[in-house]
């Protein structure tokens, strides 16, 4: 019972309550729905703790194996432990003044930005590689349009600029909305399957 029926009954009951609270946003339905969502977020924090332990465990094992990525694993373990120690030691300080906040803004954010900058290069490389397979018409159109949009952003090339703006405003936006509507419907039906208990990602059935 505790392994099969209880998780399914809880998932169905809570799913229906949250759904009703969203579609009928009047008290107390809305309040119950918000409470349940907050509880889910609290459970999520415990998940973060378990995931942190997993991270340490995995990388300590990799340090022990002395492989190619040993240095990476040492750095990950050291920075993870140092970060948590700093946060615990500075728990009484305000978010803005704490050293952990300084670390976030001056170290982590620039690092993330650099990585995202790197994706521009990897995207270009992927595009160049796609051009080497002439049987595929899709990537050719993709690269052609991407080039046109890039050139269209250059000042003094107004005819290309207006074509690029039209592509972005009409076909690209339409395509994106089409994909997002499809994803929203898929999300709805997957959620309904779980709420009805016909598929149960949370139990052994």
């Amino acid at each position: 019972m505790f392994k099969r029926i209880l998780p399914t009954a809880l998932a169905i009951g809570i799913g229906i309550l949250v759904l009703i609270g969203i579609f009928i946003p009047v008290s107390p339905l809305r309040d119950v729905s918000l409470w349940l969502i907050q509880w889910a977020l609290i459970v999520g924090i415990f998940a973060l703790f378990l995931a942190f332990l997993n991270l340490i465990r995995v990388h300590l094992a990799r340090v022990g194996r002395k492989g190619k990525n040993q240095i990476t694993s040492i750095l990950i373990v050291a920075s993870a432990v140092a970060s948590i120690a700093i946060i615990i030691l500075q728990y009484s300080q305000t978010r803005e003044s704490s050293f952990s906040s300084q670390l976030l803004h001056n170290f982590l954010v620039p690092g993330e930005s650099a990585l995202l900058g790197l994706t521009a290069i990897t995207l270009t490389l992927a595009g160049m590689r796609a051009l080497q397979t002439p049987q595929r018409i899709g990537p050719l159109v993709f690269i052609g349009i991407a080039t046109l949009i890039l050139i269209g952003t250059v000042p003094y090339l107004s005819p290309l600029g207006s074509i690029a703006a039209w592509i972005q405003a009409i076909p690209a936006t339409g395509g994106m909305r089409g994909i997002l509507i499809g994803v929203a419907l898929g999300t709805t039906l997957t959620g309904l399957r779980i709420i009805f208990g016909t598929t149960r990602p949370h139990s052994d059935d």
Partner: protein, 253 residues
């Protein structure tokens, strides 16, 4: 206050629920001819290859939190990997699964553990093969990409919620000549994966939700897909009607 948006949303969910129940009842014993989603079928074969060649499979599940808006994307990604997880457990050649979100890590770990438990072989499950890699998308993709350079990774599967940083993973796999397959839902990540993968290797947008149906052939999953198709036609019909009303000068909304 209940608005028109609430009513439209409720109507869509209600129609979806009724359609799901009716399709589920009608086709519970036999499935009619259905369309195919070629991305998911070969994933099971990768396990056979891994067992024969001793190569590892890397599965990147992305950053879709189970407590967030991408929860169902992550669940659908795991459903698409069911056959692969079951076969991996049967051959005892488990994949390395990396996640960029703690709640998704818990779900993926449980998913893989249950694949072993279904075979009565739970004690052979190795929890360190499901890993939480980093909490931010770019760091997750960068660290997961380093795994591809480790000895023996022969397949790279990227299914779930990603951003444009997924190109770090696909590029690393391409450089090594590793088999790649993927499926994602956001336009940014699709833009990143589209030039890197061909059409039989990429699930675009809603196709990601077809994974469970394709690999399990279970009527419940197919009922979900057919309900999704029905809702799509209803939404298209609604859009056409609204456009016609606007052309006739009738204000809607």
């Amino acid at each position: 206050m209940i608005t028109i948006s609430h009513l439209i949303g409720f109507s869509i969910v209600l129609i979806g629920a009724v359609a799901l129940a009716l399709y589920g009842i009608r086709y519970r014993d036999r499935l009619p001819e259905a369309r195919q989603f070629p991305v998911f079928r070969p994933l099971g074969h990768e396990v056979g290859k891994a067992a024969e060649e001793g190569a590892l499979i890397h599965i990147a599940l992305g950053n879709g939190a189970v407590t967030g808006e991408n929860a169902m994307v992550s669940v659908a990604a795991l459903e698409g990997l069911t056959a692969l997880c079951d076969l991996s457990a049967a051959y005892d050649t488990p994949p390395i699964i990396t996640t960029g979100d703690p709640t998704l890590y818990i779900l993926a770990d449980d998913w893989m553990r249950r694949a072993y438990a279904r075979l009565g072989n739970a004690q052979r499950y190795r929890p360190t093969l499901v890993q939480f890699t980093a909490a931010t998308p770019a760091a997750y993709a960068a660290i997961a990409a380093t795994y591809l350079y480790e000895k023996g990774v022969g397949s790279n599967i990227m299914l779930g919620a990603f951003g444009q940083e997924v190109s770090l993973l696909s590029e690393a796999a391409n450089r090594r000549g590793t088999f790649c397959a993927g499926g994602t839902t956001s336009p940014e990540s699709l833009g990143a994966l589209y030039p890197a993968l061909n059409s039989s290797q990429l699930a675009i947008g809603e196709e990601l939700f077809a994974g469970g149906a394709e690999v399990s052939d279970h009527p419940t999953y197919w009922a979900g897909l057919w309900s999704q198709d029905l809702l799509r036609w209803i939404v298209i019909g609604g859009m056409i009607i609204i456009a016609l009303l606007q052309v006739l000068g009738i204000k809607v909304g």
